[in-house]
């Protein structure tokens, strides 16, 4: 029976969580020390061991260059993207360029793709579950932000495969949260999921009709999360320190990490107690050799002023989602908060004000996504579902408009955003030259009619059709978005009905060959035997 269990894994930017539902309500699996969420941090130790989770997080300061965190911000992105440039400036670990404009992470002279790092986190989640359950697990449902594009979803799926998990499905985090909320409740409501995570922000509007969960619309910002709140505090602390002591803490990567940790702690404290006392002893040395401490006091009002614009930005996204769903804030019956930063009073109060409704409090914002994923995992493995019907059905949508590039840097819409998935759509292309034997198309996702405002998914090249005069060969290209939100492209010669072969010549993802190699490499990577909290691995 061991193979008949699927985990639900919330692979977060800063924290991950694993849950399982087998013959009962879904439950979060804690590790041996009772920790229910685990830092998405991977630390490479000197002896070749790899440390993942909350222990690894302690190494962010002491082993900064060899400790990778917030890898989710980089997953499925091109090396030239803004987000990667931004990460390079602040991350202590090496971010280098790989083949095909891909992003690679360089730690201890070892160059790895981003999915390989995420795979280590997934592997840790798998290990936590296996220790708890007492048997091996090979299947999982992994979540990703609703606003993730095809590249990011594909990379997340690759990460699962590298970790030795069969990823049954990639589901959207807000959808998973809604499932965990509405599952088995037999309700008919319109709900809004406000998901402010470590690095991303998502809003989904859903209509729950008993056992059917229909996503009406989804919107998001992949550049907005709790990390940005930390950054504001960090910047304030650093500016203040510069004024007082004439030293810029941001110049030193070691100081920067201590600053980052202080910022995160201050945010949590100020949210919980209304005030934060910041104290970092010996954060740096003056040129005279004097050790300087960082002490500061952050009040709630001051903090709120610092982050107000970030909070306001989330409501612009809410406006957009409501508009796409053709609803107003008053039509929403319930608001679910997901993600750690939603614990902050400023966020809660603003949400209450926007929706004129008390957000639900009986949902744990850190665990709800993993619970939803576990429910979905159990449903996908349920053999009797085919006969008796399943307990719930997720009707999800694609978050971004699928486009193909045309002449002059413009693009043409193929599948609109918020279209239910799985879906397919065809478009006919013709040859433009006599004797043309290949057709290339570039596929994009985004809301801009100009291609530079959209994300490139890849370039597809079709060959093996009839060679004839220009305009005589018609190639029907079918774009399919599957239940994972992943795009598949295929083409047929319209006259002969023959399938043409297609190759992807430009893609941020791993090739099949790279992937196989990564799977092998990763299998050899030993996760360090996990230590009880308090013991710092070196």
């Amino acid at each position: 029976m061991s193979s008949d269990i699927a985990l639900g894994i919330d692979l977060g930017t800063s924290y991950s969580c694993v849950a399982v539902a087998s013959g009962g309500p879904p439950q979060v699996i804690p590790n041996e020390w009772g920790e229910r969420t685990h830092a998405s941090v991977v630390s490479f130790l000197e002896d070749g061991h790899v440390l993942v989770g909350n222990d690894a997080k302690k190494n962010i300061i002491t082993n900064a260059e060899n400790t990778v965190y917030s890898a989710k911000r980089l997953i499925g992105r091109f090396y030239f993207s803004d987000e990667v440039k931004k990460a390079q400036a602040v991350m202590p670990y090496g971010i280098v360029e790989g083949p095909n404009n891909a992003v690679r992470i360089k730690v201890r002279e070892k160059v790895m793709a981003v999915p390989e790092i995420s795979a280590l986190v997934l592997k840790e989640m798998k290990a936590v579950a296996e220790t708890h359950l007492g048997h091996p697990v090979t299947k999982a449902v992994v979540t990703c932000p609703a606003y993730f594009n095809d590249n990011q979803r594909q990379a997340t799926k690759d990460a699962g495969r590298i970790a030795g998990l069969e990823v049954l499905r990639i589901i959207n985090e807000p959808t998973a949260a809604a499932l965990a909320y509405g599952f088995g409740k037999d309700i008919s409501q319109k709900i809004c999921v406000y998901d402010l995570g470590g690095g991303t922000f998502d809003v989904s509007i859903l209509e729950i009709g008993k056992d059917v969960f229909e996503v009406l619309s989804t919107a998001g910002d992949t550049y907005l999360g709790g990390d940005d709140f930390d950054d504001r505090i960090m910047a304030w602390l650093a500016e203040d320190f510069l004024k007082k002591h004439g030293l810029d803490l941001r110049q030193n990567k070691y100081c920067l990490q201590m600053l980052k940790e202080a910022g995160e702690r201050a945010k949590i404290e100020v949210g919980r107690d209304g005030v934060a006392e910041i104290m970092v002893p010996g954060i740096c040395q003056s040129p005279e050799g004097q050790v300087i401490d960082l002490t500061q006091r952050l009040g709630a009002d001051q903090f709120n002023k610092m982050v107000m614009d970030l909070v306001q930005r989330t409501f612009k996204v809410c406006d957009e989602a409501l508009q796409s769903a053709r609803l107003t804030a008053a039509d929403v019956d319930a608001v679910i908060l997901v993600g750690g930063p939603t614990r902050l009073p400023i966020v809660r109060n603003s949400v209450r004000h926007y929706f004129q409704k008390e957000p639900l409090t009986d949902v744990d914002p850190d665990e709800v996504v993993a619970l939803g994923a576990a429910i979905q995992g159990a449903a996908l493995l349920n053999r009797s579902a085919a006969e008796y019907g399943q307990a719930s059905y997720l009707l999800d949508v694609t978050p971004l408009t699928l486009r193909v590039g045309t002449v002059g840097g413009f693009s043409e819409r193929i599948i609109d955003k918020n279209t239910p998935i799985p879906i397919e759509k065809s478009k006919t292309f013709t040859t433009s030259r006599d004797g043309q034997d290949r057709v290339k198309i570039r596929v994009y996702q985004g809301e801009d009619s100009k291609v530079e405002g959209c994300e490139l998914l890849g370039e597809f090249e079709f060959t093996g059709f009839r060679v004839s005069y220009r305009g005589e060969v018609q190639i029907q290209v079918t774009f399919e978005i599957d239940s994972n939100g992943i795009v598949n492209v295929s083409a047929t010669d319209l006259e002969t009905g023959q399938r043409t072969s297609s190759t992807i010549s430009l893609s941020s993802g791993l090739s099949e060959q790279d992937l196989k190699k990564a799977v092998d490499d990763n299998a050899g990577m030993e996760l360090s035997s996990r230590q009880p909290p308090g013991v710092v691995g070196r």
């Binding site: 056992d211 059917v212 996908l380 579902a385 399943q390 059905y393 239910p420 879906i423």
Partner: protein
């Protein structure tokens, strides 16, 4: 999975290309939005691929996937007011068999339609629009003669514009009313 269901799916998958979207959702032709949604939920409960994810037979899963993608396609078109009107006209028209699926051609037709309607509201030529805009101001101020002049000007540039003609009719009727009072017009 019972044999009867298998036969049902197989039949549906075979005739899929001969069905219109109402047929796919098992609806009466011309059904409204509420019915479309109810049908979509009903068919989703029946054919959602997640329900059959654990079925071993890949061919069956593919078949159900194909059916469900079409259900989604049908729902996308029929839930949208503009697309539904267009589709309704297409499938009741002479080219019914060619128009069972809402393809890119229809999609762009709907878009062009929308654009045309918008243009019609204000005119298609710059000068036509200018005259029409000034006519609207005059109508609001109830200066009927000036409005008539402006609309005649607009119609010089866009002789076929129904909206302009309609406005001119209205203005002339108003003019008639004011003139009818005293009967001292010079003929």
């Amino acid at each position: 999975m019972d044999a009867q269901f298998l036969i049902e799916v197989e039949t549906l998958a075979t005739v899929l290309d001969q069905l219109d979207y109402y047929g796919v959702l098992k609806l009466a032709p011309g059904a409204g939005v509420a019915d479309v949604k109810a049908a979509y939920y009903r068919e989703s409960r029946l054919y959602h691929p997640d329900r059959y994810a654990a079925v071993d037979n890949a061919a069956v899963r593919d078949m159900i996937g194909r059916v469900y993608r079409r259900i989604n396609e049908a729902y996308t078109v029929l839930r949208d007011d503009q697309k539904r009107v267009r589709y309704q006209a297409d499938v009741t028209g002479p080219d019914r068999l060619k128009k069972l699926r809402f393809t890119e051609a229809e999609e762009s037709a709907v878009q062009a339609d929308q654009k045309r309607k918008l243009e019609e509201q204000m005119g298609q030529t710059p000068n036509g629009r200018k005259f029409y805009a000034s006519a609207l101001i005059e109508i609001n101020a109830q200066r009927w003669e000036a409005a008539e002049r402006a609309l005649k000007g607009a119609l010089m540039y866009e002789a076929g514009n129904a909206r302009f003609k309609e406005a001119l009719e209205m203005v002339r009727a108003e003019l008639e009313k004011t003139r009818a009072k005293g009967d001292y017009r010079i003929k």
